[in-house]
Assembly symmetry: C2
Homo-oligomer: 148 residues x 2
DNA sequence: TATTGAACGATAACTTTTATTGTCTATACT
DNA sequence: AGTATAGACAATAAAAGTTATCGTTCAATA
């Protein structure tokens, strides 16, 4: 039983999810992936360890890991592009449960002035801040309150 | 000739793109849409004005509008979900041209402490900052420098 | 070790986005 | 105004990304 093996079993116990071979390999493989891979990229990598694994299994377990906090989404994925014509400088609150997006003014966030110089010679155009959390509606639902 | 008509023609002139009926209706319709619509939602709405419009036209012109700055993407869309296991508190620099994602520490951004109370009773989990701009590689390409 | 609900693999279905192609139209130039 | 032409359009096929379904296999618990 390896160290990561133990770590993973503890993680699963904490979150009440079953320990399966696929999940364990998925976890270990992703530990070794840097950058910000897509599910397809994770699938390609884990397939080297378990050639028979299904892409659906990768998707299902990425969801599971994200829900339980083992894994993090780089920025909340909405399935499709979202656009807006609101020209005012503003940012967003995004509900991690229902993915609802609402505006929040830059003032309300009290951001510092944006730095123009960043590591790697990156040329800054703008900052885009997502405040990730739970919206009021989802907070209500979470507490078992039923709605008409 | 309406006011928005004039505005739109000026916008097109500024960006060197042709004024077409579809583009103009698209622009006007989106002016009247609040929230953060998807291309499909924009399509459904503009279809009421031009029933024969094609979804491909909506996509192409949303791209065009985003490129020319008429429209803004809520957060840069990567086509697929992106995940990571980097537990350290950090944020991202995202290239608006090639969509490359790179990490940046919270310290380097000099963010203020996160507010826990936000408008609308939103329960904050975390901040996710995307610094949107042009990566070094794309800056080089932009200047017409050719690469081996 | 036997039971059983959960997880898996295979695959179909669905959603989102892009590419292709022939026709049409906005624009520039007489 | 009339014409040429590059670019935009609609239609539609194809690709890419994601989810649902279902029969089989496996992990957890007794
Ligand atoms: Mn907004
Ligand atoms: Mn990262
Ligand atoms: Zn919500
Ligand atoms: Zn780039």
């Amino acid at each position: 039983m390896t160290a990561t093996d133990t770590t993973f079993r503890r993680l699963c116990a904490q979150h009440g999810i079953a320990v399966t071979h696929q999940r364990q390999v998925l976890y270990e493989v992703m530990q070794g992936m840097d950058g910000h891979p897509s599910p397809e990229e994770v699938y390609a990598r884990v397939k080297r360890e378990i050639p028979a694994i299904s892409l659906a299994t990768v998707y299902k377990n990425i969801h599971l890991f994200v829900e339980s906090g083992v894994l993090r989404e780089v920025s909340l994925h909405h399935g499709s592009q979202r656009v807006e014509m609101n020209e005012a400088e503003h940012h967003h609150m995004v509900c991690s449960r229902c993915k609802a997006i609402s505006d929040i003014s830059a003032d309300a966030l009290n951001l510092p002035e944006q730095r123009r110089q960043l590591p790697g010679g990156f040329l800054v155009e703008r900052y885009s801040v997502d405040v990730i959390g739970i919206c009021l509606e989802c907070q209500g639902l979470e507490r078992g309150a039923s709605r008409v």
